[in-house]
Structure formats: structure tokens, C-alpha cells
Symmetry: D2
Subunit: 231 residues, 4 copies
């Protein structure tokens, strides 16, 4: 389990793609050999075939659908709102319709508030005409945000106690609240996720999850990730 942000994590559950040979990328190579039937001369070694598939332009992408991974993630709702726009993944998320959400909320660090975390995405930054951030105002925002979270939680708990339906009591929950889900997809689509979410234009928060995910992928699929990282 890798800790991410102040209360989040990402955790590997299961991988597949070991094929008949039982090694990490065997399923990918065996699927690819299905297409080529050994017609590509000189590919004595699996590594060469894998590199050819991954690096050819356009990529031979379908063999990378023959491996995959299930993970569990705890992240703020605002991160899940971006994550779940990826329509090739499978999701099961805890539901506030069914069960009260635990009181965990994301408070950005002073460092994050000061620096915009190196994002190159101008649109996501402060409104034009505002002053550059200072440590004092960053601390002020953290305290103010914490109070707003506490007030929302107070409303939520009172509403539940007063018999408001769970699916309605949740209206006041802020998008900084943590939720949890399992996600599953193929290695092809995990790579696509990294490409989009480990990008400097992506929000810094989801990039922390993408970076932690990449580490898990490096452990699970070392050969493919070596090719991915070398791109």
C-alpha cells in the first residue's frame, strides 16, 4: 500500500497476463505470437518482440490488453471525478447512498498551495488580478477549509441522526471528502491513464496517484514499464 496525499492510498490487489509461461509479461507475448505465428524473423527473444510491439508507430496495442491489474484507491471525490472519466476501466466505489462516508477530507499542504506544484496549466491557477500566494494566506486557507469541512460533517451527522435519508443527507459533503474504490483494466489502458494523468497539465493531486500507480506497475510488469519509461 502506497500512501498518497494526506489520507489517501493506492494498493495492488491482483494482476493477470502471466499466460502459460507464468512470467509477468508472458500473456502479452503469447497473444502477440498468436497474430504473427513466428513470421517475424529475428525475434529470438521475447524482449525484442515486446519492444517492437510497444514502440512501433502506430503501436501494436492489442497484445497489451492481455495483461491487466486490479487496484484499490482512496482519494478525494474531486480526484475520482477526473479518474472516472476514463471509460475503459471498471469501477466499484463505496456509495454514500448506502453507507455514511467516513470523515476524511483533503487539505492541501502549504507547499502545494504556494507553488501550484509546477503545473503548466495556466487555466487551473488563481484568478487573474489576485496577489501571489504567501505562507500566511496558505495557512489561512487550510484553517478555513478545515472549518468548512467540520461544519459540513456536523450537518451530515445531524441529518443522519434526524432520520434524513442517507442519499439526501450527503448533499452537503464537499468534493474534498475522501471516497474509496476498486478499479480494473488492461495494461494498455493503465498506460493510457498514466499518459494522461502523469502529464504536467493534469491536476497535481491526480498526478500523485498516477505516480504511485506507475510504481506498482513497475513492480508488476517490469519489462513493459521499462519501455513506457523510455518513451
Amino acid at each position: 500500500m502506497t500512501k498518497v496525499l494526506d489520507h489517501g492510498y493506492i494498493r495492488h490487489v491482483e494482476s493477470w497476463g502471466r499466460g502459460d509461461a507464468g512470467v509477468p509479461e508472458a500473456g502479452i507475448i503469447e497473444a502477440a505470437r498468436q497474430s504473427t505465428q513466428g513470421s517475424f524473423r529475428g525475434w529470438a527473444q521475447d524482449a525484442k518482440l515486446l519492444a517492437y510491439l510497444f514502440n512501433s508507430k502506430p503501436q501494436h496495442a492489442t497484445p497489451f490488453e492481455f495483461a491487466g491489474m486490479v487496484i484499490e484507491v482512496q482519494a478525494p471525490i474531486l480526484v475520482f471525478r477526473e479518474w472516472q472519466r476514463h471509460r475503459t476501466q471498471s469501477y466499484n466505489e463505496m456509495s454514500a447512498r448506502y453507507s455514511p462516508l467516513p470523515d476524511l477530507n483533503y487539505i492541501p499542504s502549504v507547499e502545494r498551495l504556494m507553488g501550484d506544484a509546477g503545473s503548466t496549466n495556466r487555466q487551473a491557477q488563481a484568478l487573474t488580478g489576485t496577489m501571489p500566494m504567501t505562507v500566511e494566506r496558505a495557512e489561512w486557507f487550510r484553517a478555513k477549509l478545515a472549518r468548512t469541512y467540520a461544519e459540513a460533517e456536523d450537518t451530515y451527522q445531524q441529518a443522519l441522526a434526524e432520520g434524513v435519508a442517507k442519499e439526501l443527507a450527503r448533499c452537503c459533503i464537499p468534493v474534498g471528502r475522501y471516497s474509496r474504490m476498486r478499479a480494473s483494466t488492461s495494461l494498455r489502458n493503465w498506460c493510457a491513464f498514466l499518459t494522461l494523468r502523469n502529464d504536467p497539465k493534469a491536476q497535481w493531486e491526480i498526478r500523485q496517484y498516477a505516480a504511485a500507480l506507475a510504481d506498482i506497475m513497475r513492480a508488476e510488469f517490469p519489462q513493459v514499464m521499462q519501455l513506457f519509461d523510455a518513451r
Copy 2:
């Protein structure tokens, strides 16, 4: 434009599927005839063919991918969280990373709070052991929720004014806040959406959108919707 809930709406933007004949369902029928090449005797009339395709078990579903619709929706974030789990639709939603969200928030009516709106979904209701809802407590919740919304908005506006990045200032926004998006998919997938979201187990709020959507579909694709409603 159809009003939904207290500040939401759903609005038709564009349809397709008129095919060469230019009538609402022509594209579906022409696509189906592509497969059958007139081999199904006795289908002198388009209506008969359409009914056969729609009602056969399993359904001949692919012709219904040859028509579709773009809509615009304004709905609370909690509704969009359910809606966007449908992975066969295309979405473009306004982004609080780029632009401050307008201060529109969903407050359930007393009637809705009292009755659980006829939902058969026990899990989504009040916590066990709580008292049945009364008008007084419903009114109390509405007032309490309004204050929580106002406090969140206050934090949000102050944060923006103090130079906090838009993508971080939004942490305090509650999931009852309205957002807006365009959504597009084929008639096959709009029907699947209705089946899941116009169901008594679905949350009452998204069912109001599904009902409004069904009305739009009845105007745009009358023959298909007659079959859908007769199921």
C-alpha cells in the same frame, strides 16, 4: 428546455438517425435492412421491422446505434456522479479547474424529504433506529443545508479572492452544487440509460432527469419510444 429539480434542466441539442429518408427512425431501419437485405418476408412496413428488432429476445440492438442524440444537462454533482458511470456516453462538463462554478445548490423539497419519493431501495433510506421524518425536521434540514451551502460558498469566494488556485479552492464545494454538461450517445445507449435510471431503485433525483429525457426522446424518436414504453 425542461426544468428539473430546483435549479436544473435538460435540453435537446441535436439528433441524428434520419438516414436517407429523412424521417426520425429512417437511419435505424436502413441500417437493419443492410443486414437483412429484404430477406425477412412480410415486413412490408417499417413499423413491423422496427418492432421485430426491438422486441426480439435477445434484441437486435445494433440498428439502434444508428440514431442518437446530444443533450445539455444542469444537475447536482451527486447526480452527475451517477450519470457518468455510464461509459458508453460522451461527456463535456464545465470544469471548476478552469472557471468558478455558479452558486446554485440543490435543496430537496419537504415532500421529497418526507416520502423517500417512493423509492424501493431500502439501503438508501434513513439509518436504522431513527424516527420517521416530520415536516418540522424536513424544514430544519432544508434550512441547515442552505446555511452549509452558504458557508461553503463563502469559503470558496474568499479563497478565490485570496489567490488560491481555482483547482484547489473548489475542495469545499458540496456535491449538492449544480454543474452543467453536454452528453451524447446512440439511441441504444439512451434506452439503456433509461432502463437503469428510470428504475424505482435508482435515486429519485436522477429519475427526474431520466423522465425528462424520456419525454425528449418521445418527441425525437416516437416510434422507438412507443416500443420502449410498451415493454
Copy 3:
């Protein structure tokens, strides 16, 4: 490996969905519990939860995306043409662009030719006005088909020997020729495949593959398949 038709087979390569508990359907149950967080009272046993998810209307389908299976299939091209219309599966098929296809061709049995194999699909049967099939004419067709296959193979081999590009020499290959592929998808989508291809309206040939696949699924995911078979 299960033999199907005269030269085909279907073979299990790999399954996933064992989750943390390591038993066949653990991944499905753990994903579902992610959503419900134990809120569904009375589900002391996993089997009860699984049955609820599978049988509720509409189905709670997403947990069944957290298990899956890779298989290898050898089947006539005409079967693959139907199979690959399922767009939620991943495929890698041997390619006649890259490698000459082995000379294996499907010849329907006399029994199959005589009986239309119990298909309820009138459109797929003999042209109107033709005589009922006899054993003699069934044998005649088998012999005629075998000669046509042999002539096609002769053209193919001569063309390859004369230096015609593999991707063009293949023009003469009949759709009764066997090809081979790997296919991968989630349990949800394998069930959808069975529903459509184990149906009396589906062509008898692909139904043989669907039946063999169902047997593999029964061995790999016994609890889910018990629910599937009981529907």
C-alpha cells in the same frame, strides 16, 4: 482443451478475479463490498451477496467486471466473423498477411446438414422452394465443398510459390477455413457472450463454441455459473 467441430478447439489460458482471498469469485465479492461497505444487512454469506447482485433487476453488473478469463480458440473464419462483433473483448488472431494459414477447413456433418440443428432461425435456413435435405444430397455437398476447399488451397499455394504477396494470395481463402485467436474479457462480458451465442437463434456452429466456453466457465467460476445456469 475441448475439441469443437471437425478441427476446432477452445482452451483456457488464464483467469483472474481471485482477489485477496484467492478463491474463484473473491474479486467479485470484494469489489461489490467496496460499494456497499457492509450496509446490506443479512448478507452474512458471500453466496447470498453474489446471488443478490446477479439476480437483481436491473442486475448489479459491475462487480462481475472484476473477474475474467483469457482463452484460445480455433474456429472457422465465419465463426470468427460473428464472434468478433462483440466489441468488449480483446482479440489477437493469426494473420494471413503475415503467415500462410494452415489447410484446415470446416465440413458440416451429414447430421448437421439434415437437421438445421434445431435452429429456430428461419431466415438462416434453405431458400424457399427447395426440397428437404436428404442424406445423399448432404453427402454430395460435403464432397463438393471438399473439392472447392482443395481448389482454393491449390490456388493459394501456387500463388505463394509464384511470389504473390501473402496479403493478396489469401483472397481465395474460403470463410470455412480455420483460423486461431486469443480472446480476453471480463466475466460480465463472457456471460453476455453466452446469452447471445448460446441462443437458439444463433448459428449452430458458434453455439458449439459457446457451449464449450460455458463448461470452462463452470470450472473456473462455479458459483457465478450456477447462478447463470439457473436463470
Copy 4:
């Protein structure tokens, strides 16, 4: 209608994406503005916004899902086998289960047989050790292929006349036989199709269809295609 190969064609049926403004790319721009709410300063003109969306890395791809096109194609089965591997398109193809296929078959030209049509795909070419193609041998192949097609058609017609089920009589049909389908998808996915099928590594035959499709797209969506062509 654009003629492709010896008996094929591609034909535009219908487009969408005109949005409220009714001009070709209005739907794309309106969907994009939904996300940005005018936050991108300096984009006074639609053309600038469109270029930014299309050319940014990674691409802002979802607005291009708000326009699309239905086409009708007649092509050899071997081309459809490659085409239908694109899983984001909708298809309805004529079915030899339901209706005898017309006797139209693809015979490559001498020029095509001689030159490998400039393909850079070595694997798809002639077997190693064979002689370079000559006009004489190209003509020989064309004649031989025509005879093989005629023999297959003869078997097919006799089988149909003798009462063999249509779905079985078709076993002898070669993959060079023409079939016909309608296909529909969004502009985003049509562009992805062009990228893969207008590539020098793709088979020359499908590249002819991709080129004809690109021309249709240039007429229907001139601004987007100008950006596509400039990449």
C-alpha cells in the same frame, strides 16, 4: 459515392455535430465551451479553440466525440475483417445467413500485384526465396483467382439450389468476395481509424477506403480535417 477497388464503394449517409449554430463543427466547439466556460482568454475565434483542442498534447479529445458520421461501404470480406477490429464503431453488415451474397469478387490489378503498392510492411509481402513478380505471373494469378472465384460461386449456387441452409452454403465463399455494411462513429474515432488505416503499414486495399473516407470527411468537417492533415 466514391468508387474504391474494382467493385467497392464508400458513400456518405449522414453527419451530426452541427450543434445549435448549424455549421459543420459547431457541436464540437459548443461541447468544448461547456468545459471551459470561456475561461481560455484570447480564443475570440472558434478556429483558434478548435486548433488548440486538436493540437494540444495530450489532445483534448472528448469534444471531437460531439460530431460524427454514418457511411455505407462495399468492400471485400478481408477488408471488413480488418475494419471491424475497430471496436468503437457501430456496424450493420449484410449477412450471408439471411440472404445469398451477390457474386462480386476482388481481383487485384497487375500494378498492385507488381509493386506491393509501396507498403513498408515486409511481413505482408511475398514468401522469402520467391522470385520478383512479373507482369506475366501477375496476369496468371488474376486468371487463376478468377477461376477459383467462379468455382466457389458454382458450389455456392448449386448448394443453395439443392436446399443446403444459407448459413452453411456460404462456407465456400472466399474472403475476396464483396460484402456491404453501414458504419457509424464519432469524429474522434473516425480520425483514429484514419491514423491506423491510412498508414503505410496498413494493407493497401484498406488504405484505399481510408483515403476515400478522408475525402468525405474533408467535405463534411473541413476545419477539423485541415488540422488533421496538417499534423
